[in-house]
Amino acid sequence: MLLRHTTTEVKEREGLTINPAKTCQPVGAMYAALGIHGCLPHSHGSQGCCSYHRSTLTRHYKEPVMAATSSFTEGASVFGGQANLLASIETIFSVYDPDIIAVHSTCLSETIGDDLQQITRKAKDDGKIPEGKYVIYASTPSFVGSHITGYANMVTGMAEQFAESTGEKKNQINIVAGWMEPSDMREIKRLSKEMGVKIVLFPDTSDVLDAPQTGKHEFYPKGGVTIEELKSTGDSKFSLALGCISAEPGAIALEKKCKVPFETLDMPIGLSATDRFIMSLSKAAGVPVPAEITSERGRLVDVMADMEQYFHGKKVALFGDPDQLIPLTEFLLDLNMKPVHIVSGTPGNRFEKRMQEVLERIPGANFKNGQCADMFLLHQWIKNEPVDLLIGNTYGKYIARDEDIPFVRFGFPILDRIGHSYFPSVGYSGGLRLAEKILSVLMDQQDRTALEEKFELVM
């Protein structure tokens, strides 16, 4: 057994997290910053942070992930990191020439109290930021929240530091992307185009973290939301925030700064959440839903109806991030499945409340988020009440193998498969992909374990 020490008996833990279902803020900030065109993310802390975050994102995307670090040593930790950040800004602009440097803090720089706003202002005053270039920042202490919080903080930073209101409204809708894959962002843009709605999607990692092989390394790939687009978000007539944890803070910032009204939606994963997204987009833009989108929806419902017997009643355990877990759980319920065990390391009452609303249909389902809501606990729950399916990031494969549970990879990070960056999980086509993946692993398990006389050709 790989996880041979995992006990069946659940004991309350307060100090020790085992096999976490979250990671720390800065990696989320780095991911979000990659969704700005011409941006170099910068980690203000020890070298290890930047190295670990780049490694994790690289393993997840199999793509270049460029980012720089302030390379703190003991001296910087004692005397403050201002000199390191100023030196970094100078080196980066002269060597790598980005349009923007997006600085995020770390537990180290937060603990010593470095003030990113003050340091970036000083960089500007000292003439270290060339004309027409920008340095933005987000405070992302690793000891608060999770990687999702860090993503939200950087997205908020983009809105706060770029949005301008000229007083003239633009006929466009902001879509604040929650933490989703480049494929999902591409799909949101496709759906909006199909609807005939002009949107500004931010951040946008499509054409950044799914770049083509051309024989040339584009240090700043063609994708990403542009500075002009970000500035224009203040003039948009409405914002849709896709995710109450990772996207809403960005929409709130836009409302505060530029009075852009907003609505918060679940991330459009699965049928019902996509329905709500399409309706809200239609309403906000004042456009009807085109027939093609209704057909897309119909294809998903068709599969759900035709395959219902295989989904029905199957128990599911899942772990991951709030804005994905909420609509994913709802989708499982639409498929007539039974999500019985759910954990997420990301804390927050908002998340807890929303999850409980979704889970009303499954009395007795186990749900825990925040500290010690980890994969060790999830595994213990599974040992006590076995499941038919496990959904989560790559780390789930250890539980799946030990307990022989069909496993669908979903979330962050996925280190051992490709696909997530190319094929969306959002929208109706994303729902189809998820349904297909779930069905395939369930059927594969049946084909592998059925008695010979029960082995079926047609299903």
Partner: protein, 546 residues
């Protein structure tokens, strides 16, 4: 074939690499970019601070301590004291394989333990939570050892992980609890963490069990972390030769083996950078000499085995080792003969680690390939120039912060395995005892040596030299491949391996052959993009006019 290749003038390349840097940065980097001369080895600036913002390959002290040295021992519960990320990122990502002897034996490697430090712990201190975490780990698992790793905020807020460990060790009674002050900001790279790990393992583990070990030729394998099963292959060879492996530091190891390691008669060191401290300390305290070996490369493996035989000076062992080499080599030779015509004359660049950029050159040589440029990520001058430069290395402020243990001979256990005269005799036979000649002596004249290569420099080098293969890590992998050059990861081996010993050499030859000759590199351009293609030119023209 090699003769046909025109190499650029390295002195000009050097200028080109630093041209774009701000003056101060250029001045600093120029000391780390050196044109090699194996006869009069020039000084390389190494183990100094990275220029902030330059985009470095380097990681932190914690990564070197927990990730590299302590991570591979399967039966220690490694608790990371800090916010969640540090433990998360070091969770199973280094491919340290391990093989528990029974299904019941402890193996915590698939687990990730953290105190998940929160804001209130940073404000009010985290020791209470740490002690709670240690207690909970003990109650759940009853491990033999629990190790605690400090992350950046821990050192800054003044949590005393050593006092907390001592207190818990006393309280628990049958569990060895010890801490490491390996905060990420210490030192200038992973290297500081290696040193801190060596100190802790030496202080808290080595020497706890004086039971005699069976076997005639007993040694420890230092600096082998069993990535991709490397240690398994070396274990196989040792067993075949009749050599007893007491402990490995630390691939496929257990706490019990390390606690008993001082009963061996020789330490052989693979990764000099990460573990030489241990060799020195065990020599001083117990009288066990160490010797640099290299099991990367078939010829190097054979040479290393012969060195071990020479050290023990036993005719039977020498004969057995020759038999083993004679048995293993023909399989290797057969593969080389098949592959070499396809790799001969090709070029490689290696920018990785603190030893790997040296060791892997042997494998490329065996394939008839030339290393045109190489450098380490976190090594020191001795790894480049050889240990004779040690006395002349200036200890700067960053290194001064890393504790140097004061080690003295153990009053009871110090037992020189060889007399001074015997050691001298061995040295005269060409055996390098407590020595390492470094990377540069082996590299060709006018090859380029670059320490702590920056991203910018790597792109420039590839543009200028157009190497057939580039060796680095995961962060560089897809950048270099986007440039149409295959990248071999020498940290994780691209999930392949083992690459040590005889079987490992064969694996490596096959992988490199596959990579440098892969048809995919010729498919990058679409047919209509290729100049001179009649039909595509027409197509292109028609699109352009649209």
């Amino acid at each position: 074939m090699e003769a046909n290749r025109i190499y650029p003038d390295p002195a000009l390349v050097r200028e080109e690499l630093i041209q774009k840097y701000p003056t101060k940065v250029a001045k600093k980097r120029s000391k780390s970019i050196i044109v090699n001369d194996p006869d009069t080895i020039p000084e390389v600036q190494a183990n100094v601070r990275t220029v902030p913002g330059i985009i470095t390959q380097r990681g932190c002290s914690y990564a070197g301590c927990k990730g590299v040295v302590l991570g591979p021992t399967r039966d220690i519960v490694n608790i990371v004291h800090g916010p969640i990320g540090c433990s998360f990122y070091a969770w199973l990502t280094r491919r340290n394989q391990t093989r528990p002897e029974t299904p019941e034996d402890a193996n915590y490697i698939p687990y990730c333990f953290s105190t998940d430090m929160q804001e209130e712990n940073v404000v009010f201190g985290g020791e209470k939570k740490l002690k709670q975490a240690i207690q909970e780990a003990y109650d759940l698992f009853h491990p033999k050892s629990i190790a605690i790793f400090s992350t950046c905020p821990v050192g800054l807020i003044g949590d005393d992980v050593h006092a907390a460990s001592r207190e818990m060790k006393e309280k628990l009674g049958d569990c060895n609890v010890f801490g490491f002050s390996c905060e990420g900001y210490r030192g200038v790279s992973q290297s500081a963490g290696h040193h801190i790990a060596n100190n802790g393992v030496f202080k808290h583990m080595v020497g706890r069990n004086n039971a005699a070990v069976e076997g005639k030729f007993k040694l420890n394998l230092l600096g082998e972390y069993n990535i991709g099963g490397d240690a398994f292959e070396i274990e196989r060879i040792f067993e075949k030769c009749g050599i007893t492996l007491v402990a490995s530091f630390s691939g496929n190891s257990t706490v019990g083996q390390i606690e008993n390691a001082h009963m061996a008669d020789l330490n052989v060191i693979l990764c000099h950078r990460s573990i030489n401290y241990m060799g020195d300390m065990m020599e001083t305290k117990y009288g066990i000499p160490w010797m640099k070996v290299n099991f990367v490369g078939a010829e190097s493996s054979a040479k290393s085995l012969r060195k071990i035989a020479e050290y023990f000076g036993d005719a039977g062992l020498k004969a057995r080792i020759e038999e083993v080499i004679a048995e293993e080599m023909p399989k290797v030779k057969a593969i080389i003969d098949e592959i070499r015509p396809r790799t001969e004359g090709k070029t490689a660049m290696l920018f990785v680690g603190g030893s790997r950029a040296h060791h892997y050159q042997d494998l490329f040589t065996e394939l008839g390939m030339t290393t045109v440029a190489a450098g380490y990520e976190f090594a020191h001058r001795d790894d480049y120039e050889g240990r004779q430069v040690l006395p002349s290395i200036k200890i700067d402020a960053d290194s001064k912060n890393i504790e140097e243990l004061k080690v003295t001979p153990d009053p009871e256990l110090y037992n020189p395995r060889k007399t001074e005269a015997e050691l001298e005799a061995l040295k005269e036979k060409g055996l390098e005892i407590i020595g390492y000649e470094g990377m540069m002596k082996q590299m060709k004249s006018k090859s380029l040596v670059v320490d702590d290569l920056s991203h910018y420099e790597s792109e420039k080098l590839i543009e200028i030299y157009k190497p057939d293969i580039f060796c680095a890590g995961i962060k560089e992998k897809y950048v270099v491949q986007k440039m149409g050059v295959p990248l071999k990861q020498l940290h994780s081996y691209d999930y392949g391996g083992p690459y040590t010993g005889f079987e490992g050499a064969v694996n490596f030859y096959k992988d490199i052959d596959r990579m440098v000759n892969n048809p995919v590199w010729k498919l990058i351009k679409a047919p209509w993009e290729i100049a001179g293609n009649g039909s595509s030119a027409g197509l292109e023209a028609s699109y352009v006019t649209q």
